[in-house]
């Protein structure tokens, strides 16, 4: 087993990893910027090293400083958390070159899943379902012919475009004939390239993702799915496991498919395969995240598997603690609310001193926090303060627990999105499980109306 782990991160995930280390009898070394000198992860760690000033580029993203900190502290491994350097293959490589175990996937895993086009090629070769689409279209007739196979609505995209530019949603053949020449001229004007292609358009997709944990030695387990459809500006706000939209049959099929794919690709450590789910129970692979994710606790609660502990075991060469032949049993339902320091209406970040803090407690409530009363939330980093996780025998039990836990949560001195989460808990669509990535937009629209 590893002896001393440096956590190259801050906030609640650094605290999460420190806890796992403690429980395994491993010393935990925190790193921090000057503004984080009093942060909770610094206070809970066995040792702490200041690695630079407030800007991330000079501290939490400063590779030489982090490696030097590991050297002076005598750490034998580094856990990158999420964000920052967690998906940086070069960093993982440097760690290994410096004799430090990188607690995460291999640099090869990170590279092959890290870029969109190669990742989709790999996914196809592993038999994962992708959003149906075409190659470059010859003309409007070709477009109409191929759109029939895909099924309307489709989305017409410029090959050279990106980030939403030059995209048109099309709902019928006549409309496609009409917009095709127009899109082509726009593409030539905008990107000096008139190539267009089609993809199936999902009106109100759900964001579904599957948690993988694998030892890189042929033991790969998929711990079911999470639903993360409630997002604001493409940032997840609330996650749950399992998803009400997945049938037991589809779940079983996907777990089998993904476990085979992960074994085949030789993946190591924790990872997440993200999918869109359409209204007809079709799942389409979007991307793979080669790191632990913010929302991992909901999977831990229903599966009983401690993902950080497994990551550390794998990195220590001890393999998974889940026997190969034991089926994963998923129990009950778990929900996570991300509590951010932000205005609940405008989402404007709201750093400042936390004058009062009293977290929720009691049965079925888990608090993964990176804060304490009296601490000043710095403005230099993201606004996540804590994650409130509830676990009940059923989804409605988990919701009721979350509602009461949110009501108990006291964070004074700054604004948080607790009121927004409470509103979601009491929303009829949410309670009935009618979710899509448009949920939050709708919620705000209905209030404005």
């Amino acid at each position: 087993m590893l002896k001393k782990v440096l956590i190259a991160n801050r906030g609640e995930i650094a605290v999460r990893v420190i806890r796992a280390c403690r429980e395994l009898g491993i010393e935990a070394v925190a790193v921090h910027s000057t503004v984080d000198a009093e942060a909770l992860h610094v206070r809970l760690a066995d040792r702490a090293v200041c690695i630079g000033p407030a800007p991330s580029a000079q501290s939490y993203l400063n590779v030489p400083a982090i490696i030097a900190a590991a050297e002076i502290a005598g750490a034998d491994a580094i856990h990158p958390g999420y964000g920052f350097l967690s998906e940086n293959a070069e960093f993982a490589d440097i760690c290994e070159q410096c004799g430090l175990t990188f607690i995460g996937p291999t640099p090869r895993d990170m590279q092959q899943w890290g870029e969109k086009v190669p990742a989709r090629r790999l996914a196809t070769s592993l038999g994962l379902p992708l959003l149906p689409g075409t190659a470059v279209l010859a003309d409007a007739d070709d477009a109409v012919r191929q759109a029939e196979n895909i099924g309307y609505p489709v989305i017409l995209k410029a090959s050279a475009g990106g980030g939403g530019r030059g995209m048109k949603i099309v709902r019928s053949a006549p409309e496609l004939r009409r917009v095709f020449p127009q899109a082509q001229s726009e593409a030539i004007a905008g990107f000096r390239n008139g190539d267009l292609y089609l993809e199936r358009f999902v009106e109100e997709p759900r964001h579904i993702e599957f948690q993988v944990i694998a030892d890189g030695q042929g033991n790969a387990r998929v711990l079911g799915e999470r639903e993360c459809s409630i997002q604001r500006r493409h940032q997840k706000l609330l996650e749950e496991a399992p998803s009400v939209a997945m049938s037991q049959e589809l779940r079983g099929d996907m777990i089998a498919t993904l476990e085979r794919a992960m074994k085949e690709s030789g993946y190591r450590s924790a990872g997440t395969l993200e999918f869109l789910l359409d209204e007809r129970e079709n799942l389409y692979f979007m991307e793979m995240n080669t790191r632990i994710q913010v929302e991992h606790p909901v999977t831990e609660e229903v599966s009983g598997v401690d993902l950080i502990l497994e990551q550390i075991r794998i990195a220590s060469g001890e393999g998974l603690s889940i026997p190969k032949d034991r089926p994963i049993v998923l129990n009950g339902h778990a929900i996570e609310c991300r509590i951010n320091a932000e205005d609940p209406e405008t989402f404007a970040p709201w750093p400042g001193r936390i004058t009062e803090y009293h977290p929720a407690g009691g049965a079925g409530v888990r608090v993964d926090a990176g804060i304490y009363g009296g601490w000043r939330v710095p403005s230099a980093y993201d606004s996540l303060l804590l994650k409130l996780i509830t676990h009940g025998r059923s989804r409605s039990e988990a919701i009721r627990k979350m509602e009461r836990a949110l009501r108990e949560t006291l964070i004074g001195g700054i604004r948080t999105n607790v009121p927004l989460h409470l509103e979601i808990m009491r929303n009829a669509d949410f309670r009935d499980g009618r979710l899509s990535t448009k949920f939050l937009e709708r919620l705000r629209g209905s209030r404005a109306a």
Binding site: T34, D46, C50, G52, P64, A69, I72, G374
Partner: protein, 161 residues
Amino acid sequence: MDIDIKQLRELMKAMKQLGVTELELEGPEQRIMLRRGSDEASFATPTMMQQGSPSMPPGSFPPPPIEHAHAAAPAIPADDENVVFVTSPFVGTFYRSPSPDSAAFTDVGQAISPGSVLCIVEAMKLMNEIESEIAGTVIEVMVENGKPVEFGDKLFKVKKS
């Protein structure tokens, strides 16, 4: 100026009882400002780094540097405005001389000027020569040779000239 201790004490008591953290009183002849510290949570602070650099056996010294990473060392003011602290711009191991056999780059009583090499901070096998930003005289060397330093740690106390 008259100071009515009893009165002030009464004020402080009232502040404590009633949770007031700051009080300012300003008159033609007097200005009073009172601020009470917040009772913040005081978790045990992690133990400070004290062990030697683990990348080499204790007592040994690194080979002469192959690459020199020049870095200016930020200076921060001390209580006396003519005295400043030169702090470490890197995390790493502090060395006072380029090799075990050579003399120290600088020592107490020695004059330094902008650009003078003061020490080396070794990180990732790179020997980073730390240059002075200021001119003055070294009053104190604040870290022992071969000890680890963090970002911002005070290395030298310097009297500005």
